[in-house]
């Protein structure tokens, strides 16, 4: 039995980051226009004990609706979804999100690689991926998978990132389309 087609969004913006990425998001998110045609999924490394305060913090800095992912939730354009602590977030063909409590990947759950690779397979060339500051190589393999499946790849300029390691690892592993400052990333997302 194939899964029911609901209405999968026309595309997806997916953002990953770790240490230092909230600073970058606080530059990017306020720039996003309410008319943004795609949903945004944000996967950040966080303490497993943390509650939903991250969604609240980010919602203070954008006019778009921000919420933590509920399982089997349908992605809506112009909405920002935050990966919950202690679950991987996966993308379904029918435009919904699934949660997964399986093994940590790169010592992390949620893992950026897990969501990026899952999104690459489902959204292919309608996917836009952004990888921000961080002290871990999570996300590098995922963004390489996104590139291979035709998605657009953007990495925060390591020279600007609070912690350069994560964007650097992505740049070493695959040919990234755009290496930009946080401010320029915000501008670019508005043009998509």
């Amino acid at each position: 039995m194939a899964q029911k087609q609901v209405n999968k969004p026309a595309g997806l913006i997916i953002i990953g980051g770790s240490s230092g990425s909230i600073e970058a998001l606080l530059v990017i998110l306020p720039q996003l226009k309410k008319t943004l045609a795609l949903p945004v999924l944000i996967v950040l490394h966080r303490n497993s004990s943390s509650d939903s305060s991250l969604a609240f913090l980010l919602s203070q800095r954008t006019s778009l609706a921000v919420k933590e992912v509920d399982e089997k939730e349908l992605l809506l354009p112009g909405h920002i979804y935050i990966a919950p602590s202690d679950y991987h977030v996966l993308l379904e063909e029918d435009g919904t999100l699934s949660l997964d409590a399986s093994e940590k990947v790169n010592y992390c759950r949620p893992s950026i690689d897990v969501s990026f690779t899952s999104a690459a397979l489902v959204y292919q060339n309608t996917l836009v991926a952004v990888l921000l500051s961080g002290a871990n190589a999570d996300g590098a393999q995922g963004i390489a998978d996104i590139k291979e499946n035709g998605g657009l790849t953007i990495v925060q300029d390591p020279a600007e990132a609070t912690v350069a390691y994560m964007p650097e690892q992505a740049i070493l592993l695959s040919k990234i389309d755009h290496i930009l400052s946080a401010a320029a990333i915000g501008e670019m997302l508005n043009t998509i």
């Binding site: 039995m1 899964q3 399982e71 996966l90 379904e92 699934s98 949660l99 997964d100 399986s102 489902v122």
Partner: protein
């Protein structure tokens, strides 16, 4: 190896025909990821060779079942949940002459042992029976033994304390090199059995059913089917406990359940 979407659909149907295990109601994204990983780890490199082996070698298929389903768990996972059980649910269960609890999808058993510990501390273990089921025979065998990695004990102990435990957690296990065996007094009241939530029927009536981080792997239709199975297996005024991100909100059963407290995912059946 990335297995094509059509190949996965065909494989699931053939597996169902051959072995009776029905994975067609599982959420595809997680299943795809785990099937890809299983195929990638195989020493065989050709998709159809692996598939033939799966359909002809039962031991290999059982390994497939163990690996494509998620068996990650820990003791007192989500400490506030156990604290709530201890403080608000156990006092209600204490009023029954005999307590029946079902851990559905118990995996390697960490949550069942956690429950046994809080029951013991409330002096309720002697009048309780904990049924622990999973579709995987291999994890049930591990759960029965109650032997867990010694390296997890520090985390378990910390969770125990956060869940309101006041004893020295080390009284509950004997460490031996890399493993820790939980005290045998804990599993005397446990009954382990394989049970497949997808295809097996209700087998008893319980006052508390726990099924945490299992429904997230099912699609909405299968979730509904399983919630109805739980409803059928729960006494009036019984409790149903799900994982942190799971809910009965979208289910037809939600009209005769009330969430207890406002934070934990525990519902009480009203009729």
């Amino acid at each position: 190896m990335i297995v094509g979407k059509n190949d996965i659909e065909k494989l699931l149907l053939e597996v169902h025909d051959r072995y009776g295990y029905d994975f067609t109601g599982y959420s595809r994204a997680s299943l795809q990821r785990r099937i890809d990983a299983f195929f990638s780890r195989s020493r065989l490199t050709n998709y159809s060779d692996i598939k033939n082996k799966l359909l002809n070698d039962t031991a290999y298929f059982m390994q497939f079942v163990e690996e494509v389903t998620v068996n990650v768990t820990e003791m007192f996972r989500d400490a506030t949940f156990y604290k709530y059980l201890r403080e608000h649910v156990l006092p209600v269960l204490a009023t029954y002459p005999f307590i029946r609890i079902w851990h559905a999808g118990c995996s390697t058993g960490e949550e069942v042992y956690s429950m046994a510990i809080i029951l013991k501390e409330a002096s309720l273990l002697q009048k309780s029976i904990l049924y622990a089921t999973d579709l995987n025979a291999a994890v049930i065998e591990k759960a029965k033994k109650g032997i867990f990695p010694a390296g997890m004990m520090q985390q378990n102990s910390e969770n125990y304390r956060k869940a309101g435990g006041i004893e020295d957690f080390s009284i509950y296990y004997t460490a031996n090199y890399n493993s820790a065996k939980l005290d045998e007094s804990l599993n005397k009241r446990m009954v382990f059995s394989t049970h497949n939530l997808v295809s097996d029927a209700s087998f008893n009536e319980f006052q508390l059913i726990l099924c945490r981080n299992v429904l997230i792997y099912f699609d909405r239709d299968l979730q509904e089917q399983v919630l109805k199975l739980f409803d059928k297996s729960l006494e009036s005024l019984g409790f149903l406990a799900l994982g942190t991100k799971e809910s009965i909100r979208f289910s037809a059963i939600s009209d005769h359940y009330k969430q207890v407290g406002n934070k934990e995912k525990i519902w009480r059946k009203s009729r």
